[in-house]
Symmetry: D3
Subunit: 338 residues, 6 copies
């Protein structure tokens, strides 16, 4: 048996979860990774209403769907980020409040603790999300960075997240950072530093999404092997470079979907990610959790694409082998010696 | 005759300009692009002291050196940037003042006007520099950008710089933005938008530095052709990608010179820039200004490198042709008709 | 809904159209692009016989097939070409006549006018075809070209075709030149010059066939974007380079299908054309006309290939999206302000 | 009709042939290439027991399976190899005997003659296998080879195999060497020398397996064209390079399946072999024998893989064409002349 | 000693040969390949005036220059070409005459015979040049070629040139076709056919110019090896592809030197030709004739370029070795046995 | 100051060292890495004759040459190799003796101990060489390797070499294995295992020669970084792949210098090795020992080549930098605070 294939519901939050569940079941998905926005998985209701988690679970079971993880990207982003107007559009009003940065970060941290509690109540041990970053804006060192400030950034991240991770530990839930530009970790080097900053505590791992690696020209399969013990969850998302000497790999401050960008997200299997290499690496490290399709492609119909992506994963994620080869060619010498 | 080769003195500001001039002359440079920091070209003294410009010019002439441009990158950066602690280290104390952002930007703008005035007094019609950017931190659109804010960023840039450019016009001096990450323009798309924001007024052009294009995988020669009428000055600087699937093109928040970076600056001719293609493009567009070596390579001795770079430019920047080929093979039909 | 997929019948003219229509319908094509040779679409009969067009249309409808375009390549080729013996084999006897070049060209032009008239009668507004070229033989400039002669070539093309296009305009039909070596336009530069020669009149556009671009190492998707308003029809045909240092990209004067050629036509999806990029570009420019498979592969069974090509297009030409991404992640700020 | 697709049973010798036949028939294979080990095809029993061949054939026919070739790789390896302990594990006890090298080689040669006899009795005219090599250990010339010794190696091979080939001729059976590292021939050059050593006698040809060419960076399609008259049988097997500057193409003395190797075998279609080019080449040379899947992939489930490979071949090995193109566009000049 | 380096004077025919000889000697050339146009080498005067050849030779000797070959490209072109107006501009008036094609070809053939005679008189045994081609215009087979016509083209070439080659044989001079688009041979395939057409008679060989191979993506070193016995002379000329998806490899009917072309000629060492590989191949085949620089680069000053090219050849054409390696490491076994 | 450049004399043993020293000094070398064969450095005489070492040293000093290392490749090869006839040609007669393998290996080991003693006496602390390998012949695992045998091979190597290394330790000399096919270590993986087998004792390090890495497609610069503390000496030697689909990377059992090989040794700077990357890596790890040119190129004159290689190293091995960049742009904040 291969890994279950789920749909991450974050890009479908305009649809009620009841409709989406029916649709995805019809398409053949094994489950959903519920986003903690829209009405998909409401953390406050899950804690306030004893029946909420049970009903959500029953809804999924009615359609034969499992759920192995929650997606709490948006609130997580605010925990140690430099807060600005853009955060208002991704946060619940009660977390945004008056928008004063310290308060926003504090309330976001509390909501993340609640998310761990709600996940445990819902019977899910994995919460994926973003962390934000106090140092992302220092990406290109001009004016020249004071690199001690960067070290302090990793410490600030750890200070903000450690109390949250304590709650995760207490609830028996793990957090998976989606390694991603704008987050505290977005590549090999920064992931090493981030894991070190929280002393590689088991509560903190990775939601591996290869679409954020391809345009950086990083090898996702190598990443999976190098951080094998921290690969807690996997997104199936793709991106494609379109470099012709005129389009910048940095994106030109253009929105996704603009023709003149140097890269963009595309439906899985339509881009630069070598998924077979990634899946083989996941086999090597023994990852048996979900492959969760996060679907985003500005040039493809969404409903067509979700089904296309599911079919792609089904045909690409073949079962691993335990057999040593040439064994069938070799007689046992001892036996022959009889 | 080929173009003059100058050294941009910005990375040599630890040396007194008198010493540097002697050294560069000895190495065979044709001139210097004086940086407006260290004691190389002091804008305040140039305006306050009637003799200053004359003495600077005499110093250069004594060594047989010309000067066709000033480099005012550091103060320019503060004109429309988001000011933070890092700016203190690159600004003169009187421009930094108390560090209050609006004041810093206002004083930086005044200093840039003075720079145009000082350049005119010194007899130079080209000032190169940075502009800063109010929107650089929005490079990666997450939390999702409000793209109207980006448009406002280009407008804010234009508002901040237009009064400065008025002084440039009055003084008969032109400004050359070094298109560069962290600036308002860093690639084809953003340069188009930036030029449009100032309505392509002639006072505002480009100091073309290919080292900032190569890691973005942009074609500098094409850039020169596309923005031919705005190529006011050219830097000779190089950079090299070292992508192996583990190093990110984004730089990993590491300082230049760190082994694990995905790219770094290197001495001209040691990197990815196709200088011959660039110089041929400069021939096509009729650029006859300086080729100004901005030398930076964390793995090479600086003095060795400056001479190596000069030799590289001398052997690579060959003279252009005006001859149409095969002409020597063709008789004039009319003549034959005699 | 995606674009209709048709078969261009030019390479199947050995089969009666009645048989071919039945076969293609059985394979699942949406329609046919009828060639104006064989018995597929006979221009003279269409004009002479009131019932002809109706019967052709009924034949197609009986099989559930549409027809959105005619293919008039062979006669079109003779309109402004340098006529030689090879034209006799591709022209109807009455157009070839005695083979005297001026007469051939004149009769070909008249037949093209008739084709427009017949198309209108048949209820089709698109005629695809070749133009021929008075200057193709000057491809490589040795003996050195008199480049004024090339300019005259574009003018001669325009003179020959303008009266034809007048009839197209009168009939409400448009002509689509298949940009192709041996024609007046075969790449970006020559297409620009060709369109300029007819003053970009709307009657004259492009039948875009990527197989003629790949071996020239041209980017068909970029071509579609650049000439967006003139992409009137699209052929789906593929070609493949086989360069090993011994095979020339120029073709070695060998026939298609010869082993030693540097490139050859192959069934769609088996070659160098990036059809996904092309179809995404067609989505961007809003092209909703047919994708017409022109099938040619000297190494594949024709019947197998036509079905293989149809399946390829069906799985590659996915529906476009109108959704802006990340929208589902963003709350309305106004709403939050409640 | 395309070529029959068989499974080479060598890697499945742990399964009784009766079970394997049933399974393969169910998967849709056209036949089996029976290995001469396990109980798949027992040469000694075939010669000793009059019923054996008939029963094997009936077993296959019961499942609708054909058999066009036997695989005698293991015993063949010992015929002219430098014998060491490893051979004991691949040889039947009666061939290995006391392991004294000359005796092992002599008994292996006799068994190969018997294999030809048994094949003839079974009704198969093709036996594939290895030859061994007296000079493989001299692959890298240090200490510097005496190249005369290499010439003697080819002669020794010919001396060892000629008597065997005499029996093949007598039985009307042909031998197909699987060109492969560790054999007397493993690339273009050594195949030329090997064929010359046996004076290109028809009894000795090639079992072409592209998986042994890809990591050597050889072009299998070119090989098929160059040795067209000696391509007697074809294996469908794939391999993939994973070179990142740290993994050696030489394999690092690691076992197949180890992560750190520079290349490895993978299921057909998952690797570097260009099967479409190979199959087109086979079309050109008129090869109409089996495509025999030799399945080996340490990262994929064997049963999944065999079916995946079969589906891959079915969709990739399309039927060839006999049609000359553009013919439908050309009228017969003579006819026109009527 | 390495090969002599000469300058082909064809592109310098606007200069009197006396001036050019002095200049080239000053630059350090070993000799000149004199063009048979301008006043460089005048065939008619050489035959008419007993002193002419002696004086030309003395001129060269005065400057220490050798001459190993004449260049008779322009008249050669007319021998079997389709004559049009362009030929008038490259032919002497007396060869062009009234421009009637048969007459032009006939007079060109006579002039080529005279060229052989003049070469012999001058003491040179090699004449390089073009042949023209009756079939070049059939390069792209549309309208579909009658391939029998192509075969007749090779025959027509042989008929036109055989009487000329008879004179070459009689004079002890050899002809070297510069394999080149627009000529009867321009790649591997057509060179094979061309040599076969003249039955590989020794009078007809090749002037190998790699600049005509690079844009066809042909490997010049392989060409030298394959046609080793017909490499009579070598030109050093370079070309460079500039393919970006918008520029066609076919040249867009643009003149050399136009920005939008997909390739162009450049000064040796500035383009795509792998000269080291070529020179190593020339070493292998024992070519010890001149390396004759044919200089053409529309973007470089001609005088600068000729010197740059000479320096390039001097540092790239290193002397070959006769030593077998590792020999110094090996003791003689016999000696040891003492 | 950059690193000294020496010539490894192994390929020049046909010349008396006195002549070679004079020649190399004239070419500008800084020193010689003396081979322990020919008359270059005779271990037995060095131990037997008190004056020998002094005289050798004086000879070098007379020419201004240093010596930092000895090359003892040939005898080292025999220490743990499978001995065959080829070893006779590379060993001194007294080491070869009767050729009985155990005796040869034992005598070779004793000679290596003596080499350490002689080196100490000569005043050199570095001996480079080969180790041989008991398992090289198992490179390709067919017949399938018993991988326990490979482990035993590493152990056998350690057993053979440990007593030798004890003498090296006692003499204060270090051994540098030239990582190389046919040796116990030839890539990253086998070097790790080899170093582990001798418990990373400091007496055993690496003579890094990039020419053995390039054809394996290994990154030498990465190797230098990974094994930084064991890079004891560096050879400058180059190799070049010539892969065209017909030439095997395995070498086809052809001698070096044969045209049909897939790769070959070439003079430094003429091949695939990225020496600048290597030298930058050596700068990073602080290697300040010799760059020793081991010259081998079957297509280049040896004397020309040695000088060409020396010039190549001189211009490529630039001095490193200790400067942090942008430092000159930053004022000290504290200072500004005054």
């Amino acid at each position: 048996m291969t890994r279950p294939v789920t749909l991450f519901t974050g890009q479908w939050a305009d649809l009620p979860v009841a409709d989406l569940a029916a649709t995805c079941a019809g398409w053949g998905f094994d489950g959903l990774e519920l986003a903690c926005w829209g009405d998909h998985f409401e953390v406050d209701r899950a804690l306030a209403d004893d029946a909420y988690c049970r009903e959500r679970r029953q809804l999924l079971e009615r359609h034969g769907l499992g759920c192995w993880a929650l997606g709490a990207h948006l609130v997580g982003q605010a925990v140690c980020d430099r807060i600005d107007a853009r955060h208002q559009s991704i946060l619940p009003p009660e977390v945004w409040g008056d928008g004063e940065p310290d308060g926003v970060r504090r309330r976001a941290a509390e909501r993340m603790k609640d998310t761990a509690r709600a996940a445990a109540r819902f019977g899910v041990t994995q919460v994926n999300g973003f962390t934000g970053s106090p140092i992302w804006h220092l990406l290109y060192s001009f004016p020249p960075n004071d690199f001690a400030e960067l070290e302090r950034g990793y410490e600030a991240f750890a200070e903000a997240w450690s109390p949250i991770l304590d709650v995760f530990d207490a609830e028996g839930v793990r957090f998976g950072l989606e390694v991603h530009p704008t987050e505290i970790a977005y590549d090999f080097v920064t992931t090493e530093k981030t894991l070190a900053a929280v002393e590689r505590r088991p509560a903190f791992g990775i939601n591996l999404d290869p679409s954020h690696f391809a345009h950086q020209q990083l090898d996702t399969a190598e990443f999976a092997l190098q951080f094998a013990d921290r690969i807690y969850h996997v997104h199936v998302k793709d991106s494609k470079k379109r470099l012709d000497g005129r389009r910048s790999i940095l994106g030109s401050h253009l929105n996704f979907g603009e023709e003149a960008r140097g890269w963009d997200f595309v439906s899985p299997g339509h881009g630069d990610v070598d998924f077979e290499a990634l899946f083989r690496a996941l086999n090597r490290i023994g990852y048996d959790g979900p492959l969760s399709i996060e679907w985003e492609d500005s040039g493809m119909d969404r409903e067509y694409g979700a089904q296309d992506a599911l079919a792609f994963v089904r045909r690409t994620d073949f079962p691993a082998s335990n057999v040593a080869f040439d064994a069938a060619m070799q007689r046992d010498v001892a036996e022959n010696a009889d």
